[in-house]
Symmetry: C2
Subunit: 267 residues, 2 copies
Amino acid sequence: MTNPAPIGVFDSGIGGLTVVHELMRQLPHESIVYFGDTARVPYGNKGPETVQRYSREIADFLESRGVKAIVVACNTATAHALPVLRAERRVPVIGVVEPGARAAVAAAGSGPIGVIGTAGTIRSGAYDRAIHALSPAAQVVARGCPLFVPLVEEGWTDHAAARLVAGEYLAPIRAARVETLVLGCTHYPLLKPLLHEVLGPGVSLIDSAEETAAETARVLAERGLAAPPDATPTYQYVCSDEPSRFRELGQRFLGRPIDRVESHPLG
Amino acid sequence: MTNPAPIGVFDSGIGGLTVVHELMRQLPHESIVYFGDTARVPYGNKGPETVQRYSREIADFLESRGVKAIVVACNTATAHALPVLRAERRVPVIGVVEPGARAAVAAAGSGPIGVIGTAGTIRSGAYDRAIHALSPAAQVVARGCPLFVPLVEEGWTDHAAARLVAGEYLAPIRAARVETLVLGCTHYPLLKPLLHEVLGPGVSLIDSAEETAAETARVLAERGLAAPPDATPTYQYVCSDEPSRFRELGQRFLGRPIDRVESHPLG
């Protein structure tokens, strides 16, 4: 049994394109509809109810496009809204927190696990819960890093100011001698060189994109929802603010050109 | 003729409270309804149409509360939405750009004028136009400073990273030997000590809050809308996301305690 319908993927903005990049690599026959909520970005320090409301509206939009599954490619939306989306939707809903936690537990052995993310993701405790569900005795050191997203969006990933900011945010992670660090925000993979510089080359940086794509493949296969093996995929990019900035910045996150972006105002 | 109705004031978030602070000082008998669009903050790098849509919704809300005038206490919303709001509303609408430009032209004499603001405010050219309308030969040096708002919201106004960021953003301002700098964002008054450190103590920092409050006083007086001279003012604070964070951060911008914040989801 196969299903040619697209996978719906959403994020507060463009960061979720790092997950799309990995979905394209691992599932080259799957079509994708991506929604970036650029009119209301960021979600990182907004309240759980607000993020739930936004996530529901986007899930409605994606379902109106006939998606067969929804990937919440945003850590904050996963942290606040995954349970309500799972309870309410007919299609399977995959988040980024559980796959990231699973990869971290596998990599860390008995060592401490560091988690960095937005203020909202860290405050929600979603990673703590997901890691402890897999490894009850794990030591988790979590730190919100609110300035990382604006630094990435400004393109200052190699700036001396970014180095100072990272040094301060990561001090408790270094102090705990963490060797496995979860990048709990889809913007952070663009900071990998800086994080290695601050934490040392030996630290494993867990980017949940790869593991989330693998989880998506598993879910589709289990439910008979995978695309036909000879399908030619289509990719649709939709955002709630102006398409031009999405396109320009999005190509950096996706790692390939974006031809066309639709605008669909929400909110 | 007097009018006891409140003045409506809005901003993308909490920055507009610096304007409220000044309104309270200059117009101690006026009641105020403040709306902070914390569920969709920031406006700084969003498109003009999105910012216009948000501004209209907020103006509708404020009019539903019976305001006698609307102060757009947000530079980005003023830059993108002031003309449409003025064309559509029955009540007078006051922005922050013209008052700031007027104060800058008065302070600068024949010297160059620097303007810093969000990417959207600077791209809109609103300050350029307002300054040149008053002083056609003025030399204007404008620079978008996207990281200043997140730095202020993180409370890192005196951090070494903020100093590095300011040094880079302000390089063209320093190179032009600017002695008058418009703070074209309501978050920036909290950076005054840092800006003086980077630019020297002799630079005049034009904070449009003071001039905007004076303009509001003039408009109310001209139209017979001022509050009775013995009126006891009431202050209402409303935001679109969770009230708790608004209250906590808002007190720093307002410079006085905030007792109660209402939530009114928009968007």
